[in-house]
Symmetry: C2
Subunit: 452 residues, 2 copies
């Protein structure tokens, strides 16, 4: 490896590090349980640097793992057998907001918070919010989504077009910054969600949305989780202007109350946000929402009418799993990410709760319920590893048996590879054929999504 790295250093002088601190900074993601120490880290500061790194990888057959903020949840950026990390956070030039087109061209290393800040200077917003302040390139690579996806869509539907470096170091545009096109194959949609296995995304043009003129948020408690989920499904059927629709179970609320000093009723809750184009029409939507909530046993609704109370509500929502972790300090944690059709959602949540009880696991149930995306956090006590693995496995298999998917937003990465064939059958061969076609030497993030 040493002469290979010397060659890399020659091509990218001053951009390559093998310092233990740098390697260690790139050895973990947010959720994958194991470390993976890379052989080296390349800090790209330009698209030309990315091309040089890829040309080296192509010439030497050395695998590269593209890295944004390291906030992936399923091991997508882990150098699990000593690959070279290609750190793209230096691709962080200015965000080019085009307000008349509702678009912004973003270098891949820019954080989503920066994109949103730039958009808001024009009365627009960038809506994809996975919680972590991820880079735009990483979010495109994992097809990230989050609380606002129920209204504004996932990354795939918010990436208008992109630029990427292919396996031979050439830069391509995938798509054009237009509202629609039918020109050739949608390489853009192939790169989005490919976790850096087909090319290195270096620029992403995202869709922006107008900041709504009127926003209402609220939290409503329910007698049990089934009532809460049925209220959520009914809300979706009524096609209200729902911008967020999140579930928190009683355990999440208990953790929040304890760790963050809240005084929410200890009961399952729906957290809802509505966006309207004017206060009057929003008032009508809120009334409709209230009647749905009441019909399903919703009680003790707490509204959030001001920007600061709304921010606090969503900050609490994003802090929920962390609060539960804080309550279980000597534990490890397993997060699930299944998604099912809305009609199967009440049964999915009941199954998740019932199996947690049967396996005597400490489980927090929540998620982006308006999308049918259920997250559970298993707080695994010593000796419970097998039970936690069984639980996670059961939830995925239940989702797949009910026309769902193993992952709503976290991606396959390293963690879900064993379910790929179960979900897609022989279509995995078609995916592998595409992989071989676009990455013939296997230099892009090998071992992710598929086995090496």
């Amino acid at each position: 490896m040493t002469s290979l790295l010397a060659d890399l250093e020659r091509r990218l002088t001053g951009h390559v590090s093998v310092q233990p601190g740098d390697l260690d900074d790139h050895a973990r993601d947010l959720n994958w349980p194991d470390r993976g120490t890379p052989a080296a880290v390349v800090y790209a500061a330009s698209v030309a640097d990315v091309q040089a790194a890829v040309e080296w990888a192509d010439a030497t057959g050395t695998p590269l793992v593209a890295w944004g903020a390291g906030s992936s949840a399923e091991g997508q950026v882990i150098a699990d057998y000593g690959q070279v990390i290609l750190d793209l956070s230096g691709l962080n030039g200015p965000v080019d907001v085009r307000p008349g087109d509702f678009e912004a061209a973003c270098p891949a290393g820019v954080r989503r918070s920066e994109v949103d800040r730039a958009a808001r200077r024009h009365g627009l917003m960038f809506t994809v919010d996975p919680g972590a302040d991820a880079t735009i390139g990483g979010m495109a690579a994992t097809n990230a989504s989050g609380t606002t996806t129920v209204r504004y869509g996932d990354m795939r539907s918010n990436v208008v077009c992109l630029r990427y470096v292919d396996a031979h170091g050439r830069v391509h545009r995938a798509g054009r910054p237009v509202a629609k096109t039918s020109s050739g194959y949608s390489l853009k949609d192939l790169l989005v969600g490919a976790a850096g296995t087909l090319g290195v995304i270096v620029e992403v043009t995202v869709r922006l949305h107008p900041v709504p003129a009127a926003i209402h948020a609220q939290r409503t408690s329910f007698p049990d989780i089934t009532h809460a989920v049925r209220a959520a499904a009914d809300t979706m059927e009524h096609a209200l202007a729902v911008a967020r629709l999140e579930l928190a179970d009683a355990a999440s609320v208990r953790a929040l109350n304890t760790v963050r000093g809240r005084d929410w009723p200890v009961a399952p809750a729906l957290l809802v946000e509505l966006h309207g184009s004017d206060p009057e029409s929003l008032r009508l939507e809120v009334a409709a929402l209230d009647s749905i909530m009441r019909r399903h046993g919703g009680n003790s609704t707490e509204g959030a009418a001001t920007p600061s109370t709304q921010r606090a509500l969503w900050d609490d929502r994003h802090g929920m799993f962390l609060a539960a972790m804080n309550q279980h300090p000597a534990h490890t944690y397993v997060i699930t990410d299944t998604v099912v059709p809305m009609s199967s959602l009440p049964a999915a949540v009941e199954h998740a709760s019932a199996r947690a009880a049967a396996l005597r696991l400490d489980v927090v149930v929540g998620g982006h319920i308006g999308d049918g995306n259920v997250h559970t956090l298993v707080c695994v006590a010593p000796g419970q590893d097998d039970a936690a693995a069984t639980y996670s496995d059961e939830l995925v298999r239940w989702a797949l048996a009910h026309d769902g998917s193993a992952t709503g937003e976290h991606g396959i990465g390293l963690a879900k590879k064993k379910y790929l064939a179960l979900e897609h059958g022989d279509a995995v061969d078609q995916m592998r054929a595409v992989k071989r076609a676009l990455d013939p030497n296997g230099i892009f993030n090998p071992g992710k999504i598929f086995d090496r």
Copy 2:
């Protein structure tokens, strides 16, 4: 070919025709100027029939062209060198509407009007409307869109998942019927828009939308086309609940008045539809729209408040190009389909009008202006073929030079192949690599999108 066809007939007894009438029925699409008589037509009545035809094609290296309703606009279904047509209109079993999931699973041969009718029995609607009553499979294959795309999206964003037969005759699911997923490569998005060059789509699960509680439509006339287009761009920037936003130039209006007996002011017009969740909020949107229209010189607005007047308005819109054709009986016709970013739209329409005048061509300008998608209809008098070709070429090159695309919704097909590399550069090599990977024997619609 005879022994090959005998083999095909053995595999699909009773489903293969070489009758001149059948061949002639499959020799043209809606717009491609030339005939292409197929060697035979296979009438598939089941997915197994499709598999049998593909297995034959794979074994014998014989090319197949999938056929839905024959309503493609760029020659996508033309057997231009005597290929075999695979007619999928017999895949027309019941539409499976799942109202709680806002989805319907549709056999590929079902017409869009049937899907919409089935949806409306549940208070839902299927929104993609390219004008022609195309099949769902064909619409997916060309990534069709139309008047309502400005609000409800193109086929790509309305296809949740699909089933297709690959080049070896195997049936695959591409995606799952869920709101979002990050599991593996999005084969669904690869098949959508591939014009049958990567696989044969046999079932499509589409997204349905609730029928809006309140609908308002109107037509507003403007002093000139630039004012009309600027009003359209401004309307989009205000993020109103625009469900359709269409442009008709003075020539279109003149043709409508003459051929269909209307009395619209002979001036450029915007045709707009707004969808609201209740009459009161819609009233506010209409007021906001009116003030935008007036600010840009809009006058003589004619509202359409009832379902029947709204139907009449959109029927007139869809009949516009046909009316212009009726006025020019001894002509041939060239339709363009460029799309540009909204910020370039006023200049694009001005360019289209100015070049028509300079080339002394009879041109009708219209299109899905809310998406930046401009259609022109050139009525080509004898001797004007070269001028018409020049005009069409200039419009595409202008769009590409302004970050636009050669085709907003019609697709590349046979007609736009020469612009593929101009639009995508070397990325065409990546598309070709995908084509070779998924269709190694080149049996699926060869010569479309790319040269053979």
